[in-house]
Symmetry: C2
Amino acid sequence: MSGWIAIAGLGPGDEALVTPEVTTALAGASDVIGYIPYVARVAPREGLTLHPSDNRVELDRAAHALELAARGRHVVVVSSGDPGVFAMAAAVFEALEAGPTNWRDIDIRVLPGITAMLAASARAGAPLGHDFCAINLSDNLKPWSLIEKRLRLAAEADFAMAFYNPRSKARPEGFARVLDLLRGVCGDDRPVLFARAVSTPEEQLRIVPLGQATADMADMRTMVIVGSSLTRVIERAIGPILYTPRSASGPAS
Amino acid sequence: MSGWIAIAGLGPGDEALVTPEVTTALAGASDVIGYIPYVARVAPREGLTLHPSDNRVELDRAAHALELAARGRHVVVVSSGDPGVFAMAAAVFEALEAGPTNWRDIDIRVLPGITAMLAASARAGAPLGHDFCAINLSDNLKPWSLIEKRLRLAAEADFAMAFYNPRSKARPEGFARVLDLLRGVCGDDRPVLFARAVSTPEEQLRIVPLGQATADMADMRTMVIVGSSLTRVIERAIGPILYTPRSASGPAS
């Protein structure tokens, strides 16, 4: 049989946010590869081999997927969220580029999913309703100086900012520095969303002004969104709404 | 009955990219409101009133949705892509903020969808695999000077850049100026993706170096993604892959 790879996004957690395209690919797979908790979301069945692997082995996992597909297997590489946003798609293409030339004949598709920042944004309102940027705050794969440079320029551009991987045990002080830097540029009043484990039973949302934001409000399951200068909070008895108007001159009135 | 509004993202076009959450909301709706071509994607059925409206009446449409929900109707406001990204969610919240206080008791949910930049990115590979920004190039709602400022700062930050609404009949010269500006900052070799009508029968993908990019490669159905300095093309007999490695020091080798 002719092998293929689908690099599929499982969304933020809720099965109602998995696209039918991804569900169909999983139904046709012979092998599912990915980080342990994501593979655990795929139901076992006869004819399907699950290959859960640990975190931080993305390139090994990617090469494994390519080897299996080159041998004719139907491989789904699973990511949470969207595979093209700080996830497995880039790792597969890095492995492809570095690997044997026959891998370039493999049918590879990327199947998009609901990425964490858009799931978090939807739950809170529409903080990414105007121009925005997405920054991975992990310094595993880039120098801290580049993170700080991007933060300063993004704040100067007045983008709303979505932060992936804000905080880890390995670098607990990094996110506190990010908040300090942003307070220096954006002031204390800018609204910040901490959205943890969105769409799962552990979901928690919190909106605070930047002056009250602290690093311990985020963990590895938290998406952080810092508003632009236009981002607003609508207070309601049933809970606040955080949104950024469509116009750079502010909301309609 | 108690009214509600779901602001739902229909994704880029293919029904296999509509989440089950959105499908469920549509099945429970009494009213569907939106721009004509998006409402046309919803199948008529007994008990469902369709309210298609023209473009550029977002606030009227939003107020209409809120009025219907306040009267107890079950309203789905449809957007293409994701409703929180340059789409209807922000308009509904603008109308809510400007409207009568009883509107603040209405149950409003935003249901995320596959936004155009992530659908386009998936089709081409993973050009948004590292830090990136999303900019709406329409100057209907912001001054051109702000667009240019953001472009310069985003290029200096070395973000990959996704452009919504690159070109319209009303301002055909704007996108040519964007390309000129970017050539001045990024040089001629930066890869650019033009992704038109992704996931529909009219889908067309084109990857060219910035030096060869021209404004007429985009129309109102085109998503444009300009790579960062790290974005790479893998040439293959079966078609190129465009991707940005996960590491700021370049791809694995």
